[in-house]
């Protein structure tokens, strides 16, 4: 098994946390992972992007040239990374922030209104977890309890009150694509 994912969104949309959770969970499942974040000037408001590679085998280059999956939280992110798609790629779009795209290669696209779903459950910041739930449901990567234990670990201390809403967001994301 090998999976190359590019995650991108507005700085502040939680792509870092999303990518780390997937990487951490898969690491615990015994997979090799590399997670390469953009760094430096990408602050709240700019495009933050992350390359995540998962494999049974040793991973060499952490930089992805062709992605198996794109998880895109807003339109500028999609426009920046659509060139990394190949015919059998999957595309996960936050449809709350990306209206229409031209699907030239006719690839599998999952349009998830992540921001709206997160808003409905009371915390717009949890849109990243909605995407996580959806992505994991489609790809069937990790069992939900493993994600939740990683999430609990990350949200220790000051951020503990946010655990429940994030958990709910993961579930709602998974639910949404089950009905897709």
């Amino acid at each position: 098994m090998s999976e190359k994912v590019i995650l991108a969104g507005l700085g502040g949309q939680g792509m870092m946390l999303l990518g780390r959770l997937i990487a951490q969970a898969l690491m615990l499942e015994g997979k090799n992972v590399t997670f390469y974040p953009s760094y430096g000037t990408e602050v709240r408001g700019g495009t933050a992007y992350y390359h995540l590679t998962v494999s049974e085998e040793e991973i060499f280059s952490p930089v992805i040239e062709e992605a198996d999956t794109l998880i895109m939280m807003n339109l500028p992110s999609y426009l920046k990374f659509k060139g990394f798609l190949k015919p059998d790629s999957m595309l996960f779009l936050n449809s709350s922030m990306i209206d229409k795209i031209e699907n030239e290669m006719n690839i599998d696209v999952y349009r998830i209104p992540a921001t709206k779903i997160a808003n409905n459950i009371g915390n717009v910041v949890a849109s990243n977890m909605v995407m996580l739930g959806a992505y994991n449901e489609v790809k069937n990567l990790v069992s939900i309890p493993v994600f939740l234990s990683c999430l609990k670990n990350v949200l220790k201390g000051r951020k503990e009150p946010f655990y429940e809403v994030n958990k709910l967001a993961i579930e709602r994301g998974a639910e949404f694509v089950r009905k897709y």
Partner: protein, 364 residues
Amino acid sequence: MTSTEKNKKYLLTGNEACAEAAIQAGCRFYYGYPITPQNEILTHMAIRMPQVGGTFIQVESELAAINMVYGSAAAGARTMTSSSGPGISLKQEGISYLAGSELPCVIVNIQRGGPGLGDISPSQADYFQAVKGGGHGDYHTIVLAPGSVQETADLVFDAFDLADCYRNPVMILSDAQLGQMMEPVVFNKKCKPNLYKKDWALTGADGRKRNIIKSFYPVKGELEKFNAKLQKKYRQIKAEEVRYEEINIENADIVIVAYGTCARICKEFLKKGQSLNVKVGLIRPITLWPFPADIIQKVSERVQAILTVEMSAGQMVEDVRLSVSGRCPVHFYGRTGGGIPTPKEILKKISEIVSVREKVTCTT
């Protein structure tokens, strides 16, 4: 992170792994100044040092940092500083003094693009600065080049041991990509801070003859004698500490020489296999100084060509050429200013080498 357990896997950036490994290796004195892309080292040290009873100082300048390292090393402690290109340039004065006073310490360079302020993307353009001295005078630092987050951690442990063993500064030459990316890492190496007796250290001359740490030899002839002693030490390091990784070099037609991030890209190229009708192998230097000259010389006697791949305009290739001494053609492929070679580009370069070679074979 408040502590680490043996055998437990952590998902950490190369920078965090570097800092944590230093702590695990018994480093209790860290001095640093912010510069991207190595800031995570400072942040990690700021959290962890107080937890282990160590010292973290965010200094006023790189000069202060390297000289505090000089002081703590002279006092007999394991000590470290880190930076990236512009900051490492500022530290060179201190590194020369550390080498001249034979003080053990670890200096980390998470390379970024240069010259000048350059940019913050990965680079290998500080190779010359690291392996050829960098500061004034005839000296060498031992230079270790990791190729993964795990190897960053492991080499930091080794760096402290090597520094103490030879009373010499050791540099970890990494880059922005290896520093910023996250990979699983375990901290299983043993901390050996008391392996080497530091009876030369400054502790107060209580009940013993005084110790002096210095690099000034004004009496004619003394400095030459001291340099001869240094060179003898360097020859011993060259004889005993060369490290490299080799892949498929036994029957290779072409051997690539690449380190750090570039070696990873080259491994990706090797893994993908090639439609080319040549066998390609890889030598990955892990110690850049001492340089693995012997193995490169050995393969140069039987391969058709050597290709050096770097994120620079061609620096390590000079050491490769010295090792090869004309025994086979040495080609170079490099990217600068934040460009990272891709497996496709390496394939293209190898194809060029092969087609040139075939043309030559046809005409002769």
